[in-house]
């Protein structure tokens, strides 16, 4: 139950990719027949992605992953607009790929405003309005948070930013890495100028990402070299990976509604079960404005990894904080932004559900979790039962 961390490559996706490692190994920039095969596969993949996003194929750039997409988007827009301003607005619960890129841009003279969130993880449109000034050139707010699943009203944010901008350029980027399979990715409904995706989150291969760049958006190429990807991302294309990404994205988009409903039913069963069966627990994130597959719970008095370890021994995979942060030994910046004290943030688990999960899985978790928590609390110097 850790599908937000990564997903297995779907067999159909793998099958679609295989010929491009062997038979159709050509370089899409070449002129031989085998190269033309690769070129065609690349063009088809781009069209497929464009169809899902509701954009033109020329607005789709393939990258090496969600992190590169975020980096390219923020750096690309910031440096392209350097002459017009130096102010960037983002939220305090973004993925590290956005937060640390913003941090790095500060070294180049950019100023960054981190919008706070309320206790459900929502950014306030009033805070956003206040934050925008005459120097603002870039706003980056995620569609849905990877740890707590809160869905931000991005379309409304974009509308506000464009109004405030008047005729000036303020680029709106969004990290939508957690959204395929759960939310509509139509870039025109969202209104965003740039959008990041990562293939391995939707049963595509690791090492491939997508960056949507709306036509006319100021963008300074970050990875320079050859003319690939419309001069926006140099380097020979990862043809097999891109073919797999497009195949996976189309599949996940087609199955979105049934998958969402399935996950949401399991999600609500798990949330209700944990909160009613285990005392001193708290649901993190918003109850309804929430990714259909996300459950994030704080268990007071105990530490998340010790719960994870117990679950793992019983064959249940979950995550404490985001998977990438679990080696950092720091409490989740997202949970801290919600206002949780560090020791409560440490005691938090994320379950992220997928189509492979069933009600049986949920019931299994609910049958073992209460005793795990009880056992760990009996060991804890923080548990009130010691008094």
């Amino acid at each position: 139950m850790d599908h937000a961390a990564t997903t297995p490559v779907h067999p159909i996706v793998l099958e679609a990719m295989l010929p491009y490692f062997s038979k159709n190994f050509g370089n899409p920039s070449g002129i031989y027949p085998v190269a033309l095969e690769a070129r065609k596969a690349l063009d088809d993949a781009r069209s497929t992605v464009a169809e899902v996003l509701g954009c033109g194929p020329g607005e789709v750039v393939f990258t090496s992953g969600g992190t590169e997409s975020d980096n390219a988007a923020l750096r690309g827009a910031a440096f392209a607009l350097k002459g017009k301003g130096n102010h960037i607005v983002t939220s305090s619960i973004e993925h590290k790929a956005v937060l640390n890129t913003c941090h790095s841009l500060e070294e180049f003279g950019f100023k960054v405003t981190h919008l706070p969130v309320d206790r459900y993880g929502l950014v306030s449109i009033y805070d956003l309005e206040k934050a925008i000034n005459s120097k603002t050139i870039l706003v980056s707010i995620m569609v849905a948070n990877n740890e707590i699943g809160t869905i931000e009203p991005v379309a409304g944010f974009v509308k506000l930013v464009k109004e405030k901008a008047g005729g000036k350029d303020i680029v709106f980027h969004t990290d939508a890495v957690q959204c395929p399979g759960a939310l509509d990715l139509d870039v025109n409904k969202l209104g965003v100028d740039m959008l990041s995706l990562s293939a391995h989150k939707f049963q595509g291969p690791k090492g491939v990402g997508i960056l949507y760049i709306r036509d006319g958006t100021p963008f300074a190429t970050q990875q320079t070299g050859g003319a690939q990807e419309g001069n926006r991302r140099a380097g020979t294309e990862n043809v097999a990976g891109i073919v797999g990404t497009a195949t996976a994205l189309r599949m996940v988009a087609e199955g979105r509604e049934s998958n969402s409903q399935h996950c949401q039913r399991l999600r609500d069963r798990l949330i209700k079960g944990i909160l009613s069966q285990i005392k001193d627990t708290r649901l993190n994130g918003h109850r309804t404005l929430r990714l259909p597959n996300n459950v994030n719970i704080s268990f007071q008095y105990i530490e998340g990894e010790s719960i994870l370890l117990n679950l793992d021994l019983l064959g249940i995979a979950a995550s404490s904080g985001s998977a990438c942060a679990s080696e950092a030994e720091e409490p989740s910046h997202v949970l801290i932004a919600l206002g949780l004290p560090p020791e409560v943030a440490y005691g938090s688990l994320r379950f992220s559900l997928g189509s492979a999960n069933s009600e049986k899985d949920i019931d299994y978790v609910l049958s073992v979790l209460p005793s795990i928590v009880e056992r760990l609390r009996a060991m804890s110097p923080l548990a009130s039962t010691n008094e």
């Binding site: 010790s306 021994l313 020791e343 110097p381 923080l382």
Partner: protein, 154 residues
């Protein structure tokens, strides 16, 4: 990621709990680090007659706590003082590199408990690190008369 010995101690921790009339209590850790270890010792004839622990933390923190209680139970104070965090980690068959600092503090907590027994640490060291619902006072509470009794016999 963890050795079998770590997992075994994590699953079947030895000497969990608190000693109501402990002669020394050592508390170490911080909420920033995410690990907090509390060791209780009962001393008789210069030996650690009983030792218990309470731990908030990851698998490594719980396993090291369990291991230290096994390593020092029945030992003299001097022998127990020789035991270091590194020795605890070694006895567990090693810890992942990332766990060597934050989560390998059980020996320090035990030394602090001995410090308290020997009167090297003032009573306030037992004040809770966390403000609410923590019950860290656990053992002897904050009764001054008991505090007086805890002074080492000379």
């Amino acid at each position: 990621m963890y050795s079998d010995t770590v997992l075994e101690h994590f699953n079947n921790p030895r000497n969990v709990g608190f000693i109501p009339d402990a002669d020394g209590v050592g508390l170490i850790g911080s909420s920033i680090c995410g690990d907090m270890i509390k060791i209780f010792v009962k001393i008789k004839d210069n030996r650690i007659e009983d030792v218990k622990f309470q731990t908030f933390g990851c698998g490594a923190a719980i396993a090291t706590s369990s291991m230290i209680t096994e390593m020092v139970k029945g030992k003299t104070i001097e022998e127990a003082r020789e035991v270091t965090n590194e020795m605890v980690a070694e006895a567990l068959g090693g810890l992942p590199p990332g766990k060597m600092h934050c989560s390998n503090l059980a020996a320090d907590a035990m030394h602090k408990a001995l410090d308290e027994y020997e009167g090297r640490v003032p009573h306030k060291s037992r004040a809770p690190l966390f403000k609410k619902g923590e019950g860290v006072r656990g053992g002897r509470g904050e009764i001054p008369s008991e505090e007086m009794e805890r002074k080492p016999e000379s």
